[in-house]
Symmetry: C2
Subunit: 232 residues, 2 copies
């Protein structure tokens, strides 16, 4: 444990995790929340997170808290923004470093444990009122996702291995908060060379079965590195 | 002053400011540094910054510290990243929220005051060895600038009101850390419709006087919002 020799203005530092997942069946963008077991905001839903320990880095704290509160491990967390407004936490001066991640929802079944009564996926559109300033943190994460989508392929982490163009379009529409023209979207997406046509069709649907695609991982990584502009 | 009721793992939180400026004469990308007056790293150059007070937000702290240590005011600071590795500060657990800004160097003549022996602009390429993990913070800011340049027009804040295409190219080359083809660069930049030809020429130069341009502010803001891809 590191020892503090000198602490002007002692402050508490927390981490909070915004974890997005996509429900393949409903094509719904979801967020992972926990129900608080402790005061303040006892019983209220919140982002998974907690206090940073003396002997761990910020990223380590985020991974540990996510695991402890939801059982999710092996998730790639990226730093989002640090929130430090005076009065954002009724307990005193608490500064929170927020992280975010995109995961495949089917692979991550949350399980509540320490400090959390329960953990569950909520539709972003129908999320409950969150504790602290977590609503603002969620909005910041959504804005980041929206910005990213213009310059990078997204979806690899969110969609199932095989997906339809409608599912991909629904993801873009959810993040961009608006409808996209179907023909234009397909033309644009297919022209990027990002997708591999699997020559397979979805099964167990009432409507006409749609064609299944997967991402070309090499091309996906290339575009992620090189950047592109997805003009809408 | 906010009062802390409950402080698990008291930590100190600082802000650090990476301020880039461009020397119009040498077309050199510069960084604003201060020389530390106090231990640790007494006498060493460092990023301007300091401890966050109880009664101010993180952004307020960054603005205050920048003013106190260098005399720079009215600078638009953007949050960069939060650095919180264990052992990054010999005084104990100190987490630093880094901010960055782009300024016109000619308009900002630094003046040292509290906690800083002196403040000065250094060429990024020839910066001295910095205190703490500030070298890493500087690298993160340079990488952010590099990423931004692909998708947004930059230079408005850095260049003088009237500038030559060579100055703009030099800025891009410095940020991208490599030479660009002059003809391609000019063609690309001019095709964006970002620049207004002033029909004026630089004065007081030994070589052939180059044409002066200014940014079209409306177009600049449009492109910043809409995004673009500057392919090199």
């Amino acid at each position: 444990m590191a020892k503090n020799i000198f602490v002007p203005n002692p402050t508490s530092v927390t981490v909070d995790c915004v974890v997005f997942g996509m429900d393949a069946r409903s094509s719904d963008l979801r967020i992972l929340l926990i129900q608080r077991e402790l005061e303040p905001y006892r019983g209220r839903w919140a982002l998974p997170g907690g206090f940073v320990r003396f002997d761990e880095s910020l990223a380590e704290a985020a991974r540990r808290e996510l695991d402890e509160e939801t059982g999710l491990v092996g998730v790639f967390l990226e730093q989002l923004f640090t929130f430090g407004d005076v009065g954002r936490d009724p307990r005193g001066r608490v500064i929170s470093v927020a992280y975010y991640a995109l995961v495949n929802l089917d692979e991550h079944n949350p399980q509540a444990s320490t400090d959390a009564r329960s953990a569950a996926w909520f539709s972003v559109a129908e999320a409950p009122k969150l504790a602290f300033d977590h609503q603002g943190i969620l909005q910041t994460a959504l804005a980041r996702l929206k910005g990213k989508l213009r310059y990078e392929p997204i979806g690899f982490e969110l969609l199932p291995a095989k997906f339809t163009l409608s599912q991909l379009q629904r993801l873009y529409e959810t993040v961009l908060e608006g409808p996209l023209d179907k023909r234009n979207f397909r033309k644009k997406v297919l022209s990027l060379g990002l997708l591999v046509d699997l020559n397979e069709f979805e099964t167990g649907v009432a409507h006409r079965a749609a064609r299944l695609y997967r991402f070309d991982e090499t091309k996906y990584k290339q575009l992620k590195k090189k950047g592109f502009l997805f003009e809408l």
